[in-house]
């Protein structure tokens, strides 16, 4: 067994586990309320990482601020995804429907135009100005959609007409479509290249925090960047637990997870609660993405969110869907599996994680903290 155990394996397991836990929270909370595997969550993770990278590396925003802004971007993205893709499947809301469809189509069209200009730019300089204008528009559409989503949630666009009985298969296919669309948009805007997180300047605070050695056990050294991931995850999970169990919105979330119709009758704005759930999950995905990118040092590209996303869903199932504790424990178990597998079969590490996921779904679909009857598939 000793060939599999090394302190570095433990460090790696905890780090992976913490990242998966952060992503899994987004899945587990959304699934707990609307029973939807939000496939696009992995793409939120990817876009959050890109946002942090661009803010930090190109606009030289301080790292902490860059992370906060990336979280804000993803928070809005989460709401926009819900507003454009999933809300129309739950509620009939003609005006909001039209706007969201127009926004989505416009955004995709602009992304293609942006890509075409990027190619033309190499030959003629005049395209550069147009490209900036397009870039501004590209940013403006999600902002406008976000504003409209918030207005819609507070009834400013008129109350939604009726709830639509859309089946879960449709919702899942929509989620897959959203995931594919976001991935392709990222590919159009940022290309298929691998981006690298730039090294921190020496003497800077970030450098001291992330690059210093915290602990040395045997031949393994715990780097600051791994330690930061643990601390941040632990703090966020404690905070989130408090939010869900101590605050009013947390109570509303738990109520919606139990019974949406009754919660609505008690005066809970269910769509607003769902939007908040998306916000929280997406913001956590952004911070996970940036910290993970700093730890790995690179590998930032348009499909980076797919594997962590699916694995994190596995973690959520393993822990018991709907449970935040479960997401953390599930994330740690899956992270440990992957870290151990990396020792000998590095190219198959994800296969082990997927295998564990399949075993859990087959034999214990309600997870560690769930109750057998609560498993819904």
């Amino acid at each position: 067994m000793s060939e599999f155990f090394d302190w570095s394996v433990l460090f790696n397991a905890l780090t992976l586990g913490a990242v998966y836990a952060l992503i899994a929270v987004g899945y587990t909370m959304v699934y707990g309320i609307i029973q939807l595997i939000n496939f696009a969550h992995g793409e939120v993770f990817m876009i959050g990482t890109f946002a942090g990278l661009l803010l930090f590396a190109q606009l030289s925003v301080p790292l902490s601020l860059a992370i906060l802004l990336a979280m804000l971007v993803c928070l809005m993205l989460g709401v926009v995804i819900d507003f454009t893709a999933y809300l129309p499947l739950r509620r009939k809301h003609p005006l909001a429907d039209t706007i969201s469809i127009a926004g989505l189509t416009g955004f995709c069209g602009l992304a293609i135009a942006y890509f075409l200009l990027a190619r033309a730019e190499q030959s003629q300089a005049a395209a550069s100005g147009l490209r900036i204008a397009l870039g501004v528009l590209l940013a403006a559409i999600p902002l406008a959609l976000f504003a409209l989503a918030i207005c819609g949630l507070y009834g400013k666009l008129g109350r939604p007409k009726a709830s639509v009985t859309s089946d879960r298969l449709s919702a899942l296919i929509t989620a897959i479509g959203m995931s594919l669309s976001l991935q392709t948009i990222a590919q159009l805007v940022w290309g298929a290249d691998f981006y690298v997180f730039p090294p921190f300047a020496k003497e800077s605070l970030a450098h001291t925090v992330f690059e210093s050695d915290v602990l040395t056990l045997g031949s393994a050294t715990l780097k600051g960047k791994e330690f930061v991931i643990w601390v941040v995850t632990a703090a966020l999970m404690v905070g989130l637990n408090g939010l869900v169990h101590r605050t009013k919105i947390g109570k509303a979330m738990r109520a919606c997870a139990q019974d949406q119709k009754t919660a609505a009758l008690m005066g809970v704005n269910v769509d607003y609660v769902i939007a908040v759930t998306f916000m929280i999950g997406s913001a956590l995905a952004a911070i996970a993405g940036i910290l993970f990118a700093i730890k790995v040092g690179g590998n930032i590209y348009f499909r980076m969110g797919y594997y962590p996303g699916v694995i994190a869903f596995a973690a959520a199932v393993l822990g018991g869907i709907g449970s935040i504790r479960g997401a953390v424990v599930g994330g740690l178990i899956i992270g440990a599996t992957q870290a151990v597998a990396q020792v000998k079969w590095a190219e198959y590490d994800f296969a082990f994680a997927f295998g564990l996921m399949i075993l859990v779904i087959l034999f214990r679909p309600w997870g560690i903290f769930g109750k057998p009857g609560a498993a819904r598939a």
């Binding site: 469809i101 991935q183 596995a314």
Partner: protein, 458 residues
């Protein structure tokens, strides 16, 4: 009642009696599609890019039809279909590259070898489908989708890191390992290969159509609508689900073998899960569970992908844009037309046709009744033909109750009154009853073929 011109025409065809229940529109559409594939080379010549696109569409249409068995008929969202495609392709290349005794390439040097490869590939994938069905039999909904996705990822990772698939670099056919068909090696401009693929597509369509109208198809529909009720009606759910997995896998393997030969190099890296999503997209766009819909979806989607590689109206659209189109299509179709562009014309299940009614009346129900009914019974049931039928079918084609259901109804009422034996009554709703039961849903409009989900929701 005298037989209409259609019936007389169809009786001239070999196997034409199988088409007796079809409307003129259906016959014209399928005939036109077949003709398009058959005469396309006459206009452009073999080796033209358009032929290449045609081959691509035909191969992926076979795959879409295979996926439709699980997604559309059994009602399970399958996300790992690409593993059948990859397995078939890898097996094909390994058999073709196998040198045999003295470098003779036994599988590559004769037509029989190539046909054997296609069959073997299909059978292997059918076996794999059955094997995969054992653990996934009890799963439904999201969990089935995510487990098939996970298994496909594991297969993908194994293929990507194995010697026998060529790993990340892929495999290439040498000139003496190219398959032979009708005496000449298959290259991109081989006419024999083109017609083989078209023939395979035709055969797939016929098999799928017969399945849809058979007892098996009705059992799948029952499982999709309500598994518990299906079990209560005496349907062996496990057996029929396994059958669906096996059939779906078989066509995946056949499609994989044809795909491998069509593309000439197998890069496993390109066969990732997003390929399954692409195939799923064709099924969803056309209409899950609708044969004509799936064919239309393939005809619309797959050329798009190839066209985007070329310059279009002087604008060079990036190839990535096709993925964006697919993603948006999935969202938009699910929101505005969840039943697809061309949903099923009939209700969730096809009513018994004249042959089957006859068989039931004699108390000998069969899986496939391919014999022509006795003349007495075909005149007895107006469903088998007759003058007014084309008109009925035409008016009903746009929207609303299916022509089949309307046709069978009057013929059946008489029989129901005489009180026939309940030979199949437990498993298959009798047409007369089916008409009554399904007509409100038909009338309620676009949501009819998609009750699967609402049943699952309950």
């Amino acid at each position: 009642m005298s037989e209409g011109p259609k019936v007389e025409l169809l009786r001239l065809l070999p196997g034409g009696h199988l088409l007796l229940e079809r409307s003129w529109g259906q016959l014209a559409a399928s005939g036109g599609l077949g003709l398009l594939f058959l005469v396309l080379p006459a206009f452009v010549g073999f080796g033209h890019p358009l032929i290449n696109v045609g081959l691509y569409v035909a191969v992926f249409a076979i795959l879409s039809l295979g996926l439709n068995v699980v997604v559309g008929w059994t009602g399970l969202l399958e996300l790992g279909y690409v593993s059948f495609l990859a397995t078939g392709a890898v097996l094909t290349f390994n058999l073709l590259l196998w040198e045999g005794a003295g470098g003779a390439h036994p599988f590559a040097s004769s037509s029989l070898g190539f046909l054997a490869i296609i069959l073997l590939s299909g059978l292997l994938c059918a076996a794999l489908g059955l094997l995969r069905g054992i653990p996934t039999l009890k799963l439904t909904g999201d969990y089935y989708a995510i487990v098939t996705l996970g298994l496909a990822e594991i297969v993908y990772l194994i293929f990507l890191n194995s010697e026998f698939t060529g790993g990340a670099f892929g495999m290439k056919l040498s000139s003496d390992s190219r398959p032979t068909l009708l005496g000449s090696r298959i290259y991109y401009d081989s006419w024999a290969f083109y017609y083989l693929v078209v023939l395979a597509l035709g055969a797939t369509v016929v098999v799928m159509d017969r399945l849809d109208r058979s007892r098996i198809g009705r059992a799948w529909a029952a499982i999709r609508l309500d598994e518990v009720a299906a079990r209560a009606c005496g349907i062996d759910v496990a057996r029929y689900k396994m059958l669906a997995f096996g059939i779906s896998g078989f066509f995946g393997g056949v499609g994989g073998a044809l795909y491998a030969v069509w593309i000439g190099t197998v890069a496993v890296k390109a066969l990732d899960v997003w390929q399954s999503i692409l195939i799923l997209c064709a099924v969803v766009l056309g209409g899950m569970g609708s044969l004509r819909g799936v064919l239309l979806g393939s005809l619309v989607l797959f050329p798009l992908r190839e066209l985007l590689r070329e310059e279009l109206f002087g604008v060079r659209v990036p190839p990535e844009a096709s993925n964006l189109v697919y993603g948006l299509l999935l969202i938009f179709v699910m929101r505005f037309r969840p039943q697809g562009l061309l949903p099923r014309s009939a209700g969730p299940v096809h009513p018994l046709d004249a042959n089957e009614q006859e068989a039931v009346r004699r108390g000998r129900p069969r899986l496939f009744v391919l014999t022509e009914p006795a003349p007495s019974s075909s005149t007895e049931t107006p469903g088998a033909g007759g003058g007014p039928r084309p008109g009925v079918a035409h008016s009903a084609e746009t929207d609303g109750p299916s022509p089949d259901a309307t046709d069978v109804h009057p013929g059946h009422e008489g029989r129901a009154a005489t009180g026939e034996g309940p030979a199949e009554g437990t498993e298959e709703p009798r047409p007369g009853i089916a008409q009554d039961r399904f007509s409100p849903e038909e009338g309620s409009g676009p949501s009819s073929p998609r009750e699967a989900g609402s049943a699952e929701d309950a």
